[in-house]
Amino acid sequence: MKKAMRSMLACVVALILVGTMFVGCSKPSATTETQTPEATKEASKETADGGETAAPTGEMTEVGTPRNETLIVECQSPTDTPGQFNSYMQGTTMGFGIHQLMSAMMWEIDTVKGEQFGEVADGMPVSNADFTEHTIKIRQGIKWSDGEALTADDVVFTFNMIMTNTGINQNAYYNQIFQSVEKVDDYTVKIVTKESFPRLAQRFGVTIWGNDLRIVPEHIYSKQADVTQFKDTEPVVAGPYTVKAYDELGKWILYERREDWQASTVGVVTGKQPQAKYVWFRNLGDDTSRQMSLINNEVDILCEVTPEMLEVMTAQNPNIACWYKDFPYATSDDPCSKGIAFSMGKGAPFDNKDFRWGVALAMNFDEISQNIFDGVGRSSPFPILTNTSAAQELYVKPILPWLEAFELDLGDGTTVKPFDSGYAERIAQVLRDKGYDISTDHETLIDMFGAGCWKYDPAAAEKLFIKAGLEKKADGWYFNGQPFTFNMSYLADTEAQAGRGTQAAYDQLTKFGFKINLVSESSATWSTNDVTGQYDIGGYWPTGFITKDIYSQINGWDGDLIVPVGERGSGQGTRWNNAKATDIIHQLAVLSPDDPKSYDLGLEFFKNAIEELPFIGFHSGVKFVPTNSTYWNNYPSADNPYNGPWWWWSCFKYITTEISPVK
């Protein structure tokens, strides 16, 4: 018995060991894991010794494609609807390469210039005087991947499909806007809107990330009994790639370049060939796995990481880089600044501009900046508009004289000029002292660190709080005779920049003397609390900037849209009720984006927002989006900024023409 049991145990252990070794030792060259960090370091050493290192050849990816023909791109989350490529069916995960590689947009965005251009449309729409009739030319030469030509019929069909199917998300909205969409000829469409609609291309074309109008092939979709239940498992597309295979569990999709890529949207618009034969979008799981995968060259492009993650990765694999090769690494042109928002619908003191200005002056931005990403990032203290490089040129620099002269009344007969233009020089010196090689050119510093920030002036802040009705006693601040405490909330799961910013602001305001509860929220409650205004001060980001015309960025701040706290409205959750801002928004609504008056009104809105300060920004969107140049290079970067590093935007298809294989 004793022997039998021992034998059995030995057999089980042996089986496990053999099984493990058998799988573990199976042909490592068959997959991408073979290029370990050691191998990469070795390769890098060879590079240093002389010339460019050739990409490893003969390796295959885990999905059976040659590694050196496959561009591997991370997708932030897996999809629960694998095999579903119909963008009008609920649940389709467009960011899984679908809108980046296959979708046909009416207008796309040049993210560097901040200008739209026609993709399916041949140029911008031509409208009548009151912007109710719009004529759109369709680009000739685009073909669907099954060889059918893309014509006005497809565009008209797509609009009408949305307007006649209540199961499509955009249905109600399109019916509010459009009177009719008709074909004039094979390559011309006429759209009639129910009311004046001067921003057709901005609303129905891409400005940020993508757009929910994606043209579908009439000859496929018109045959479906219910397009909202049609998965479109084998999609016929106008983009340069089609689906070759996908994971039934939703973790990856493999795309293959169309043989007739010249007839795709990208081919017709640019005449350039997307260089990778295959693009493999895959989800890589948690942060540790993402880091290990990039270091091991199992992925070429990652979505956002933290600076700490980047540091670990660049230390282990010299082929990993970000927007800048060296400090500050990240791009500061993500059009969404992070900072703190006030729930003004809750009433005093949050709805009092003196209170908000007091908060701004009570915080030391130099310290906040260090706490967020060690000083990386362009300061963007302004409310609502993000200080991207384009915004800095178009909106910030033109109002700099006004900004420097702008004064706050402190309520005791004194004033303070809150703008501090010395931030860029100061932070540059701090970073130089830390050993970073930072330019001394003033303009370069302004581009890198921004035109300025709000002054750190605790004495002025104290006066402003008192003006706002707060009272300072020996044991802290009081409001309406009660000890004054409030909550500061931030999103715990993602958005490191926003979360760290709120935590840093909490430290500053606590140091100033406020009693604050720091609340970490999960994404389960974050959006709901935003829209219902259920917070005091929160790390929300109701900001943006992409095009010169700011109407689509600011129309949510219309005071007429505000609903009481606790209810769900369509306006901004902060509930900033400002008559002047509302009036400007109403004026802009009926003006063409190209009308010079639109820009003037935009500047006026910007100044009014600064005076009222409904949001305190810290930095513009700082994105650490690393790439690995072991197999592919010529990614967009600060040295070669042909596009922004926005892999998750629909404009990625244009980036694929530039990313080249390492020879």
């Binding site: 018995m1 004793k2 049991m5 059995m8 145990l9 089980v12 799988v23 573990g24 199976s26 894991e33 073979t34 885990e62 629960d80 694998p82 609920q90 649940g91 209540t166 199961g167 998300n169 955009q170 249905n171 109600a172 909205y173 400005t207 940020i208 990330w209 993508g210 757009n211 929910d212 239940q229 295979a245 994971d247 569990l249 973790k251 493999l254 989800n283 890589l284 799981g285 948690d286 540790t288 796995s289 290990m292 995968s293 270091i295 091991n296 059009p335 999960s522 389960a524 409650t525 959006s527 709901t528 829209v531 992409i546 960025q553 600011i554 129309n555 949510g556 769900r568 369509s570 998750w648």
Partner: protein
């Protein structure tokens, strides 16, 4: 007659347990200060910037109707009882609308069962054999070593073991994929080989910890049993150690382990969330986590209902077969 009464009472308790559990799971998520419609709109906005106010209003009311969130809680509850509990139709997933919850769970559940059932059963068998040996011969050096190893492994959280395995075998040695990738291109053999390869490390992490627990518990049970009077008496009668181990110690100790196994098997339907996260292994655990974050009421209900029913059913089955394997219960 006695058994029928026992069975009837036990079955009634089973139905009551399931009903109470599911009722809680129906109401609790709806008390969260979150809203699936707002989460979806928030997600759309965070991707594409500001949404046109008119579009947001239109979308909000459209989604509320589509998601079936109109009507009072009680109305929704009775609809759920009829559809969900009696027909196992949990409706569409709100985060992947209109894909039915059942379809999504059906996609992930086989992987959860493949990994968790296999590792639970293997760990149970290995752990009980080693535990029996260690407990029955507790004074031997080999028993002490085995017990020591189990005590060292068991308290380590299995995600730590998972991380260590991932770093050593996937990152440094490159023998296994860092993240689970199952190759769906090609024939069954290609698919199964990639599944096996991707499952080794997750399985190993669960197996190591699981085995440690079974060793410790069985060792303790066997140690106690081997000091019982009837074992001593058997020894005095001159019965061989092998027979005592098999017929006296093993058979008496294994009863508790059978109950624990049934509970564990029922529990595998809940998935192993940390293993799934570390290795990116597809499974029900991460599905529940995502559903909670997205306030997908239907998905939460679907996954947890299956878990409640599985655990309750496993317990019921054990209770019903217990009289057959333990004569003491049968006679009482």
């Amino acid at each position: 007659m006695k058994f029928r009464k026992y069975f009837g009472l036990r079955f009634l308790t089973y139905l009551l347990t399931v009903w109470i559990g599911i009722t809680f799971i129906f109401f609790i998520p709806r008390m969260f200060p979150s809203d699936p419609v707002e989460n979806m709109i928030g997600q759309m906005q965070s991707r594409s910037g500001q949404m046109d106010p008119a579009q947001m209003d239109a979308l909000r009311s459209q989604l509320r109707v589509q998601f079936g969130l109109e009507g009072s809680l009680i109305e929704q509850y009775f609809t759920f009882l009829w559809k969900g509990l009696l027909h196992f139709d949990f409706g569409p997933s709100l985060m992947s609308y209109p894909t039915p919850v059942g379809e999504i769970i059906g996609m992930y559940l086989p992987y959860t069962l493949f990994l968790s059932l296999t590792t639970t059963v293997i760990a149970w068998v290995i752990g009980n054999i080693i535990g029996l040996l260690a407990g029955f011969r507790k004074n031997k050096l080999s028993s002490k070593i085995l017990e020591g190893v189990a005590i060292c492994i068991y308290p380590v959280p299995y995600f730590i073991i998972a991380l260590v395995l991932q770093i050593v075998f996937a990152f440094v040695l490159g023998w296994f994929p860092i993240q689970t990738t199952i190759n769906t291109q090609g024939n069954f053999a290609v698919w199964f080989a990639s599944l096996l390869k991707a499952s080794i490390l997750p399985a190993l992490s669960m197996l190591l910890v699981g085995t440690g627990w079974w060793i410790i518990s069985m060792k303790s049970l066997a140690g106690t049993t081997s000091e019982e009077d009837f074992v001593l008496f058997a020894r005095y009668r001159g019965i061989s150690e092998g027979k005592i181990g098999k017929n006296y110690v093993f058979r008496n100790s294994i009863l508790t382990q059978v109950t624990a196994l049934a509970m564990s098997l029922g529990g595998v339907f809940g998935g192993s969330i940390m293993t799934e996260i570390v290795f990116g292994y597809p499974g029900v655990g991460s599905l529940v986590q995502k559903a909670i974050l997205m306030s997908d009421y239907n998905m939460i209900l679907g996954c947890i209902t299956i878990s409640i029913v599985a655990i309750s059913t496993a317990t019921l089955i054990v209770d019903l077969i217990y009289p057959f394997i333990d004569p003491r219960i049968r006679y009482n």
